[in-house]
């Protein structure tokens, strides 16, 4: 469904230039939910913007690569065609629904607009459909809410509206970038349940970008852990959570609190700071924070390779052998 190869993105700031995505390659199968996990500087959001033709250029710049979506290269398409795809075959949901919604247009108009543009519906048909969509995402009394404005909706309700817009044209692919991060945990739970249901019903393929390992554990088939513009590890969620092979994935999982803390105990913390993209170390970018790094990690960036003995598709970029290193550790 989506096949990205050798995507490279750069960024300039104050006359300096940095590579923020390094030859990124991955693919997503039809019907699959891919959870992409990363933090500041991981490139998880930047790469999605680049795919959608939404990367501000400058300061960003796509340096190369291909992104085949249903046979078309997203990176080579003219803006007019990309606009057709966005909101059509590709739905998009971002973190902050307030900035994504137009404050002076009614909710009904904003849901109807893509239906008119992509599906050729009349305004009347589009508004009927808009009411159905609001109902589908769990907004009660949908018809009465169509003439209302975004400020009349709570944060969680606005994010539901964004989801209604994103799925309005029954996209083949939904890209969601931190869609629940700004929401309360109970509202997040409702949205996650809602998305799981919609995915089943519409047979959507999803890319869900987040920093939350718990969210990925619940929603994704495949997890892809990114750091400093590279994939560190990727594989079926069960395999990766049960036996992480990247020291970064392992560190993230270990640093999370499990239950009550033992007296005098401390969380297992990852040392150091997130990567400075304008000052990346040579080799494996996580090496300076990795207690298991070998000499080679500081010199040469490791390729992604199948994890020996794990399920097919569980790949890791590491020169060290994490299970062996953990066993040897005191």
């Amino acid at each position: 469904m989506l096949e990205i190869s050798d995507l490279a993105v750069g960024f300039s700031r104050e006359g300096r230039f940095a590579r923020v995505i390094h030859d990124l390659s991955y693919s997503v199968e039809r019907g699959e939910t891919l959870g992409i996990v990363g933090e500041s500087g991981s490139g998880k959001s930047v790469h999605a913007l680049a795919l959608l033709g939404l990367l501000p250029q400058p300061p960003g710049k796509v340096l190369g690569g291909r992104a085949l979506f249903e046979g078309e290269d997203l990176l080579a398409l003219p803006e007019s065609r990309l606009r057709d795809l966005r909101g059509g075959r590709i739905g998009v949901v971002f973190q902050d629904p307030m900035t994504a919604l137009n404050p002076v247009l009614t909710i009904g108009r904003q849901i109807a607009e893509p239906l008119i543009r992509h599906k050729g519906l009349s305004m009347r048909q589009a508004l009927d459909r808009a009411a159905e969509l609001l109902d589908l995402v769990g907004i009660r009394d949908a018809r009465r809410r169509l003439p209302q404005f975004p400020h009349e909706f709570s944060g969680g309700m606005r994010q539901r509206v964004m989801i209604a817009i994103a799925i309005s044209c029954e996209p083949a692919l939904l890209i969601a970038d931190e869609p629940t991060t700004a929401l309360d945990v109970t509202v997040q739970g409702q949205i996650l349940d809602l998305m799981a249901g919609l995915r089943e019903r519409l047979g959507m393929t999803m890319i869900w970008i987040t920093h939350d390992m718990g969210v990925v554990a619940g929603i994704a088939d495949t997890i892809q852990v990114m750091y400093a513009g590279r994939i560190m590890e990727r594989g079926p969620v069960e395999a990766v959570f049960a036996s992480p092979r990247s020291a970064y994935t392992w560190g993230l999982l270990q640093s999370l609190p499990h239950g009550a803390h033992p007296p005098g105990g401390r969380l297992r913390q990852i040392p150091g700071q997130p990567p400075d993209m304008f000052n990346l170390p040579p080799g494996d970018p996580f090496a300076p924070r990795n207690p298991f790094a070998t000499e080679r990690c500081f010199k040469e960036a490791p390729p992604l390779r199948q994890v020996p003995g794990s399920v097919p598709g569980h790949v890791v970029a590491a020169w060290y052998d994490l299970p062996a290193a953990l066993q040897a550790a005191p």
Partner: protein
């Protein structure tokens, strides 16, 4: 028996919205009768979602906002009865750390001067050399290289900025710290570092902590007791283990059921309990009732 370091009694704070065309602006009861104690050296977790009033409670405790009603008793003295001048010595003993470390920092001030500021304000700085030495010591305490003192905020990552904010907060060696969502804005790989730092400080300085958060798994890990807020009131409070293992209020139960667990097998099989906060009204005569062992649950008057 030890006296609490902080005693909050029936704290109330109302915001009045702008009056509409026909008068009578909307009244929001942000904090509506909140009471709790914090013992010396203890960590109390104050949890709740947006609009619960947890941050307003923290600000009222710190005197950053004035309550409409209620008392904030610190070490036996009712701060709400004091003039601003007479409250000043207490400000040395209680400090706050905010969610967004960048907003709290002055972008044009060297971070060393920012950390030194409370020492200057309270006139305990001594000479410039003594002040520098004191700030260098604070930097080392929070895990920052004292050489960073000369730098500006934009040169630091989020986690480092939060360390700078903490260094300033502990400069006057307070006994009590309000931490208002101190790790929410930080990268996941940095959150554990900051939580560990809080624990280190607590052990070395005997700090009592009011930890305001929405991240329940971190609260469970860090806090000895927890209070759950909903719509300006505490609906459940008690020892952390009791509240997490035997939650009684439907809101606490819903909140706990919604926390994502980083385990695909458990996460797949779970069911989230619904709770419609918008439709929820407190039952008439609702009051906290002790169900044993200091575990209190908000319940309506018995019929």
């Amino acid at each position: 028996m030890t006296e609490p370091l902080l005693r909050v009694e029936d704290l109330r704070r109302t915001y009045r919205g702008r009056a509409g065309l026909f008068g009578g602006g909307l009244v929001t009861r942000a904090v509506n009768g909140v009471s709790f104690d914090v013992m010396p050296g203890e960590t109390l977790g104050l949890v709740g979602e947006s609009g619960s009033g947890k941050s307003t409670t923290g600000r009222l405790v710190m005197g950053l906002e004035e309550p409409d009603d209620g008392r904030v008793v610190f070490d036996g003295t009712d701060l709400t009865a004091l003039s601003s001048a007479r409250r000043k010595p207490f400000r040395r003993r209680m400090q706050i750390v905010f969610q967004d470390p960048y907003a709290a920092l002055n972008p044009r001030m060297r971070v060393g001067d920012f950390v030194a500021e409370p020492l200057v304000v309270h006139g305990i700085a001594g000479s410039a050399a003594e002040r520098r030495e004191a700030v260098a010591g604070l930097f080392r305490t929070v895990g920052l290289d004292p050489a960073f003192m000369q730098r500006f905020p934009h040169e630091f990552s989020g986690g480092q900025r939060q360390r700078i904010g903490i260094a300033r907060a502990i400069a006057l060696r307070p006994q009590f710290l309000v931490a208002d969502e101190p790790i929410t804005a930080l990268d996941v790989s940095i959150q554990a570092q900051i939580v560990n730092l809080f624990q280190d400080l607590q052990e070395s300085m005997g700090l009592a902590l009011l930890f305001i958060a929405h991240d329940l798994s971190m609260v469970r890990y860090l806090c000895t007791r927890v209070a759950v807020m909903l719509k300006g009131r505490i609906v459940e409070t008690g020892p952390t283990a009791a509240v997490f293992q035997d939650a009684r209020h439907p809101y606490t139960q819903a909140l706990l059921s919604a926390v994502p667990i980083p385990d695909p097998l458990r996460e797949r099989g779970r069911r989230r309990l619904p709770f419609d906060a918008g439709a929820f009204d407190f039952p008439p005569g609702a009051a906290l009732r002790d169900i044993g062992g200091g575990h209190l649950v908000l319940e309506g008057a018995s019929r």
